[in-house]
Each structure stands twice: as structure tokens, then as C-alpha cells.
């Protein structure tokens, strides 16, 4: 049987964000911004509402490196068009770089 096309289904999400409601999540955006906050709402376009939002600031010299700096933003609407990644706050941790190769002379 061929793949079922969209004609019978309406727009369905492949992932249900309602399990993250009222939980702290981490969000990454196009352009390198990162934020975390408690998920209060969302829509099918992946627009999000986060409460108690913290933005993690990047190094001014290296746009891809996070610093210790953060800023409080409070209640925030995140645009779904800019969202790149969503994960639970306790679902990630920083680790030492596993790709560095030791030079053995």
C-alpha cells in the first residue's frame, strides 16, 4: 500500500508537547539564542509560552559559546518559526569535549 497522504488526516503533530506543560524546558533558537523556562502553553505551529524565562547569553567573541551570563525575561512568547530544539531541562548536561584528541608526540 502506498504511503497515506495528508488527504485523510488534518495537520497532526508528530510530538505532543502537553506532557511538558508546567515543566521546565530548554529551547534553542535559530541564530544561536538559548533560553529555558516553564512551559505554559503552545500551539501547533510550535509557538511557545514560557514563564520565568532565563536567556543564556553567548560569548561576544565566539557566537557559539555559552557564558555563565544569564538574564531574566519573565513571561515570554517564543516564535515557533525560530525554534530549533526543545528538550526537558533535566534532559541535558554539559560534558567535557569528547572529540578532543590527545597529541601523542
Amino acid at each position: 500500500a502506498p504511503f497515506r497522504s495528508q488527504e485523510k488526516k488534518k495537520k497532526e503533530s508528530i510530538f505532543d508537547l502537553s506532557k511538558y506543560i508546567d515543566k521546565p524546558i530548554r529551547v534553542k533558537f535559530q541564530g544561536g539564542r538559548e533560553a529555558s523556562g516553564v512551559l505554559k502553553g503552545f500551539d501547533p505551529l510550535l509557538n511557545l509560552v514560557l514563564d520565568g524565562t532565563i536567556e543564556y547569553m553567548r560569548d561576544p567573541d565566539d557566537q557559539y559559546k555559552l557564558t555563565e551570563d544569564t538574564r531574566q525575561l519573565g513571561l515570554v512568547v517564543c516564535r515557533g518559526t525560530a525554534v530549533v530544539l526543545i528538550c526537558p531541562q533535566d534532559g541535558m548536561e554539559a560534558i567535557p569535549n569528547p572529540f578532543i584528541q590527545q597529541q601523542d608526540g
Binding site: I21, G31, G41, Q72, G74, V76, R79
Partner: protein, 104 residues
Amino acid sequence: MDQVLFEKLLIFVVTPNNTNCALEFYVSELVDKCIGSRIHIVMKNDKEIVGTLLGFDDFVNMVLEDVTEFEITPEGRRITKLDQILLNGNNITMLIPGGEGPEV
């Protein structure tokens, strides 16, 4: 507009760091509640815009007035514009109702 939906929404007071939000609502309703209030828009790049929200469309292009534009990287330079601007929604990352903008 669904009247029942509206009644499910709690009042989102336009102040920073509020608590007690409704469990179910739609994101565009929240932005709609900001119309007439100050809003702080964070772009994908290092630009931020603070202004009074006059309206927005399906693509979240925004019409703002009494606008201040901030560049974050070069020591927080500020450019103040009055009248009205149409802000292209393409590069908007975050919307902060009642936000005053970055500390400068």
C-alpha cells in the same frame, strides 16, 4: 472568536515576572492581550525592539509605535524612533509583554 475560550483565559497582567498562568490558551490570544501595552521584541540576531503594540498579523509581523531599538553587542547602543514601524516577523525570536528592554 470563541467566547468560552476567552473566559478560560486568565488576565495576563502586563508586568514582568508574573505567575499563575492558565493551563489552556492559545499563544496568539496572549499576544492579542498585549495590544496597547509595551512589548519587548527579541530578534534572532543581537537586535531588540521595545514599543507599544498596535497590532500584528498571522505571520506575527508587528506594528509598533514609540519605538526604541537596541543593539546588544556594541555596548548597548540605542536608537530611538517615534511614530510607527512595521516590524518584519521573519526574524522575531521572543516577545516579552510589558518588557522594558535590555539593561543599558
